[in-house]
């Protein structure tokens, strides 16, 4: 029984509004800071309303770069981030869907062992194995390359687990029907399993794209040239100054730009993404 009392609504809405305010205010502040000139931002009295330097700031951030610190325009950094995040997401999906297919549908010696080895890597994120990973990448001459940015972050158990759980909900009869219909392992994967996995793939893509986009430590370690930096490391470099004032208005513009692609990915794939995570009916 839901009773309708106006006060309940007022209280509920105020709590929710307060929550939104807490989450949104820093973002708003970044947006506002990116529209003022350097002097206003640095003065310590941060205005709460947008200023008039929006075009100038964003133009400089995207095409010119910071005047003294980070010498790379953000446009290029965005491209680097986009390539590595997409590479990580696509690579992870590719590796995990194949490994999950092997683990779920094929009987081979040490199948369980293989699965558990994959599972154990959940406990070994990049941060833990950073030295050996760096050594391997360096020995393979992949420092300052996209491959170096992407490959070490591809191997992970999360995707394999997600696909494994999904494959196990696919009824066995579907495989049997395919076998009777003359579809071999490859055809079954391509014609049946892959189309059914679309929502799971979308969910994984969103998660992994954001994961790849937000990488900080790894790109910081293996990129030495400014041209190979990602945007997340780029923002940080903009603020590390020795005897200069940090160009906060440019850093904020860059931060706002850095937020856009992940937001776009979530917005465009949200419908599929949610279905992929909650879908039960097959």
């Amino acid at each position: 029984m839901v009773e309708h009392r106006p006060w309940n609504d007022v209280i509920a809405y105020s709590i929710l509004t307060f929550g939104i305010f807490i989450v949104a205010f820093p973002v708003y502040l970044a947006l506002v800071a990116s529209t003022h000139d350097a002097a206003t931002v640095i003065s310590g009295n941060m205005p709460l309303l947008p200023g008039g330097h929006i075009l100038e700031n964003y133009y400089r951030a995207i095409f010119v770069g910071g005047s003294r610190t980070s010498r790379e325009p953000v446009g290029h950094l965005l491209l680097n981030s986009f390539i590595s995040a997409t590479g990580i997401a696509v690579g992870k999906i590719f590796i995990s869907i194949l490994s999950a297919y092997a683990v779920v549908y094929f009987r081979f010696p040490f199948r369980k062992t293989a699965f558990w080895i994959i599972f154990v890597t959940l406990m070994l994120p990049v941060e833990v194995r950073i030295y050996p990973t760096y050594k391997v990448v360096s020995d393979l001459h992949m420092l300052d390359t996209y491959a170096g940015l992407i490959l070490p972050l591809i191997a992970s158990a999360t995707g394999t687990l997600l696909f494994r759980q999904f494959f196990m909900t696919v009824p066995d009869e579907l495989l049997e029907a395919s076998r009777i219909d003359g579809a071999g392992p490859f055809r079954f994967f391509w014609d049946t399993l892959l189309p059914l996995s679309v929502t799971t793939i979308a969910a994984l893509f969103v998660i992994q794209f954001i994961y790849g986009w937000n990488q900080y430590l790894w790109p910081l370690l293996i990129t030495t040239q400014d041209s190979m930096q990602t945007i997340v490391t780029g923002i940080k470099k903009m603020l590390t100054t020795t005897d200069e004032l940090a160009e906060w208005q440019l850093a904020m513009a860059t931060a706002v730009l850095a937020m856009l692609p992940p937001v776009a990915v979530v917005v465009f794939m949200q419908r599929l993404f949610v279905r992929g995570l909650v879908e039960t009916e097959k």
């Binding site: 009869e173 579907l174 049997e176 076998r179 009777i180 003359g182 009916e281 097959k282």
Partner: protein, 359 residues
């Protein structure tokens, strides 16, 4: 068109469990064979072995004169209808039916002809572009049938295809399947646990229990002459009344002790004792009226204190007897009645229930 022959077929699982313990039978060309038995009797396993979805541990399966033991399901020239239909959820009805043909590299015009023909037979014409989830249970069932038909296989295999449907639809589809099979004249093997489906569909009925065949034959013949007490109580609803010979109301029969069986419809409410027949004194315990007929549950007077619940589902409690009366007229509860049956309607089995003794 093909015969299906099973010769001493066995299935032992890796754990050592013997699911199929040596089965022989033959299904003639164009015949409809029904495998029936309680759950866990191995009937589905046997069907899946014919399909090639389970390996064969021993013996031979022969489809149309070719031993198929080592042959892939796709190359056995069979088509299977699954209990949950196993339609490809992301494909349209048309593609569900065409998929197997495309994998065989059949030319597109021929695929189209076959699918359209199947859709016409099954009245699916208006639904060819829909996805399975937009269809009702009965329509999905028909698509699954269509997928089997378009292949024009030597053998149709049905694995409890009607058990996901509601009671009315099940009866309708049962008739449809039979008509379709008569029309196509394709050898068929059909698995079910429903004895009514088994009786109505089968040319040959194979009653299975515990990985073995209990009896093979024409359904009516099995109904009229069950060879074991298992078949006697499994085939027929309500089940046959079975009682130890020594307390069957003083009935005399050749050979020592045994089990006496009598079908509920063969018992008549009369006080006259038929010569050489059987008379039971019963106290009415419960009455079920289903409209066209009435089931009277009576307990034999000489066994007042026995439990009234059976330990095995589907069988009668000890001392309980069902009488099936036409119409809705029945004695009242608590009334004492006499039920009698002529000698030719009685079934006699050996004491272990494994053999039938002719009276």
């Amino acid at each position: 068109m093909a015969n299906v022959t099973l010769r001493n077929v066995r299935k032992t699982y890796a754990g050592g469990f013997e699911a199929i313990k040596g089965i022989d039978f033959e299904v003639g060309d164009g015949q409809f064979c029904v495998l029936v038995g309680p759950s866990g009797c191995g009937k589905s396993t046997l069907l899946r072995m014919v399909a090639g979805l389970e390996t064969i541990s021993g013996g031979e399966i022969d489809i149309g004169g070719r031993i198929v033991n080592g042959i892939e399901p796709a190359d056995r020239d069979i088509a299977m209808v699954f209990q949950n239909y196993a339609l490809y959820p992301h494909m349209s009805v048309y593609n569900n039916m065409a998929y197997g043909l495309r994998n065989r590299r059949m030319p597109q015009p021929e695929i189209d002809t076959r699918v359209q023909e199947a859709a016409r037979i099954l009245e699916l014409g208006a639904m060819l572009e829909r996805k399975p989830r937009q269809l009702s249970g009965g329509q999905r069932q028909r698509v699954a049938m269509g997928r089997a038909i378009v292949r024009q296989p030597k053998v149709f295999l049905f694995d409890e295809p009607l058990s996901n449907l509601d009671a009315k639809l099940r009866i309708a589809m049962r008739v449809e399947i039979r008509k379709l099979q008569r029309r196509l004249q394709t050898t068929s093997i059909y698995v079910t646990h429903d004895q009514l489906e088994a009786m109505t569909l089968a040319d040959i009925l194979v009653v299975m229990n515990g990985g073995r065949v209990e009896q093979i034959g024409n359904p009516l013949e099995i109904y009229q002459k069950p060879m074991t007490t298992f078949v006697a109580s499994f085939i027929g609803a309500p089940p046959m009344n079975l009682m130890p010979l020594h307390d069957a109301g003083g009935f005399q029969a050749p050979g020592g002790d045994g089990i006496l069986g009598i079908r509920p419809e063969d018992l008549l409410l009369t006080s006259e004792k038929p010569t050489g027949g059987l008379t039971l004194n019963l106290t009415v315990e419960a009455i079920e009226r289903v409209g066209a007929e009435t089931y009277v549950y009576g307990i034999r007077s000489q066994e007042r204190d026995v439990p009234t619940v059976s330990t095995r589902p589907g069988e009668l409690a000890p001392g309980e007897v069902i009488v099936r009366l036409p119409g809705a007229v029945a004695p009242s509860i608590g009334e004492r009645i006499h039920a009698a049956a002529p000698r030719e309607k009685l079934h006699l089995f050996s004491a272990d229930g494994r053999n039938r003794i002719n009276l």
